[in-house]
């Protein structure tokens, strides 16, 4: 098979902008984990699709707004995570759960806004969907139902597993020099761990590439066809890009002392993976005792911010050394992440105008289907 993915989709500013508009601007995408905004006034800020967004808890209600004050365009919340009212630090405009500028100090004396103008002062709000402990946001003026992006089985698996997350979350960001799509092509490739992670991940888990004959035939037919995907078929195909559940048995499941102190999700000694299209990856390398939540945020054609969250399953009782558990596991997870990041950065570095097109094998049928879908979207053959 030959891939339809052109180097432009990884290198070009124009393709990046088009992708932001046609794909990220239309789909539900991961925003944050609910435990980070579970208390009154707790907030998280991110920059997605070029939009600074704040998601904040108002007396138990969670809302997402553009993180820009309506007065002088100051960022309302400065930190990436924190807990304070939604009040601008510049001139102290305060906003409520509806995004209204509820408190403007000295409003009548010095601003002299009319009642009508005052009513117009409302932050732009973005719709949220909260699945278990996972919060998605949508920037489209006419968002698709989340059930059109993810099928019911996937949403149920995501809800069930994420409800097992503890509320103590370790997080960090890596600034990687590759296009975000390379990460997901890599995650859908079970043949890479034995070559890229021989001394780390592949020691604990054996991922076996399998060929799905029906999918392989479908990918060959679709990728060589000039016929564009129709929207309904494209949306149905997209729902297959997200999946989750047991992926590979753990060869030698470790039993750490802290495992006795958390409520494990499930009971199987398997490596679990969840891929939420387009750019969320969750894994449990401990058979449901802990989870890593990876959000690949595109920031430029060749740059991706990788936000990594690490949580154990819910504690059955608090224990003092839980920070040490999180820290030691994050350092361990860094080894695997670093190996993947290095490979993808070298792929990105080798891409250029005359680079050969990829030559995927039959085991990569899912990547081929994603490629066909992506190219048709980018070339305007259908729209989300």
């Amino acid at each position: 098979m030959r891939s339809n993915m052109d180097h432009r989709y990884y290198l070009s500013e124009e393709a990046y902008r088009r992708e932001q508009e046609l794909l990220f601007g239309r789909l539900w995408q991961f925003l944050t984990l609910k435990p980070l905004v579970s208390k009154h006034n707790a907030f998280v800020t991110r920059r997605l699709c070029g939009i600074p967004v704040v998601v904040q808890n108002f007396q138990g209600e969670i809302h997402a707004f553009q993180n820009v004050c309506l007065h002088r365009q100051q960022a309302l919340q400065w930190e990436s995570e924190g807990r304070r009212p939604l009040v601008c630090r510049y001139h102290a405009w305060g906003y409520n759960a509806r995004g209204e500028a509820e408190n403007i100090p000295f409003c009548e004396d010095i601003y002299r806004f009319s009642d009508a103008r005052r009513k117009e002062l409302r932050l732009r709000e973005y719709p949220l969907e909260i699945i278990g402990n996972v919060i998605f946001v949508n920037f489209s003026p006419d968002p698709i139902p989340i059930g059109e992006q993810f099928d019911t089985g996937f949403l149920e698996s995501l809800r069930s597993s994420s409800e097992a997350y503890d509320d103590e979350v370790m997080l960090t960001t890596f600034h990687a020099q590759f296009n975000w799509k390379l990460a997901y092509e890599n995650l859908r490739d079970p043949n890479h761990p034995r070559f890229v992670h021989p001394q780390s991940l592949a020691k604990a888990v054996t991922f076996l590439p399998r060929i799905d004959e029906a999918m392989s035939a479908e990918a060959k037919t679709l990728s060589t066809s000039d016929a564009p995907l129709q929207r309904e078929a494209a949306m149905a195909l997209m729902r297959r890009f997200s999946w989750g559940g047991p992926d590979a048995p753990l060869d030698d499941a470790p039993g750490y002392e802290w495992h006795r102190r958390v409520e494990r999700w499930g009971s199987a000694d398997w490596y679990y993976n969840w891929l939420a299209f387009p750019n969320l990856h969750i894994a449990s390398a401990t058979g449901g005792y802990s989870f890593i939540v990876e959000h690949h945020v595109p920031v430029a054609p060749g740059r991706t911010d990788l936000l990594v969250h690490w949580v154990t399953a819910k504690k059955s009782a608090r224990y003092a050394w839980s920070p040490a558990v999180l820290y030691s596991h994050m350092v361990g997870a860094r080894t695997v992440l670093a190996e993947d990041i290095k490979v993808m950065e070298m792929v990105q570095a080798a891409l250029h105008e005359r680079a050969p097109a990829p030559s995927p094998g039959d085991y990569e049928a899912m990547n081929m289907l994603v490629d066909k879908w992506y190219v048709d979207l980018m070339e305007g053959r259908f729209a989300i």
Partner: protein
């Protein structure tokens, strides 16, 4: 060294070997014994291994390296205390500890360290060679300062925080609890609880909880 009761050094790793070596060098007349633990014994500490050493006649020193934010060492120290043992503190004769400073039990103050006036070092801390603790600075329990760390006057290091070589904490700066600062450099403003600055990570790692 004020204690002259027999001393039992319990633990594993570099601190264990170093404490044994240096204590024997500095107090050749003292009865100093060693109980080296296997990794899986640190969490369980078989009481039978301690049987020959009566708590009322023996001082102990729990010596485990700084892994797991010093929790392993605290765990061992706590087990020994619950069995009735009192712990000794090691202060190298070439360390300078101001008479007004307070250093609690099971601490290790290495050669060349300087502990300033009215500084307070809580139990189970490690102050590496050449490290400096300023005037009225405070180290809460189970901290680990590596060699050459500089903590300014009136600064505070939260419990279970570990500071790697070359870390400089400015005057009055508060480092939160459960932090690991592993990249050399100066911290001129407060460091929140559960912050991890490590060469493997592009940005600080944080733990947030509801």
């Amino acid at each position: 060294m004020a204690d002259h009761e027999p001393l039992l050094i319990v633990g594993a790793g570099n601190l264990f070997e170093r404490a044994l070596l240096q204590w024997r060098q500095l107090e050749p007349g003292r009865e100093i014994r060693a109980l080296e633990l296997e990794v899986d014994e640190i969490a369980t500490l078989p009481e039978s291994a301690l049987f020959p050493y009566a708590p009322e006649k023996t001082r102990v020193f729990a010596a485990i390296d700084s892994s797991a934010l010093n929790f392993a060492r605290l765990d061992l120290f706590t087990r020994l205390r619950l069995l009735g043992y009192r712990a000794a503190t090691f202060v190298h004769p070439r360390a300078s500890v101001d008479p007004s400073a307070r250093v609690a039990e099971n601490c290790f103050i290495a050669e060349g360290a300087i502990v300033g006036p009215e500084a307070r070092i809580a139990y189970n801390c490690h102050v590496g060679a050449g490290a400096t603790i300023g005037f009225r600075a405070e180290m809460q329990h189970s901290c680990w300062l590596d060699a050459g760390v500089l903590c300014g006057d009136r600064c505070r290091i939260g419990t279970h925080s570990t500071l790697g070589p070359g870390t400089v904490i400015g005057h009055g700066v508060k480092v939160g609890s459960y932090c690991a600062l592993e990249i050399p450099g100066q911290h001129a403003s407060d460091v929140p609880d559960r912050t991890y600055i490590h060469p493997l990570f592009d940005r600080a790692v944080r733990i947030l909880s509801a």
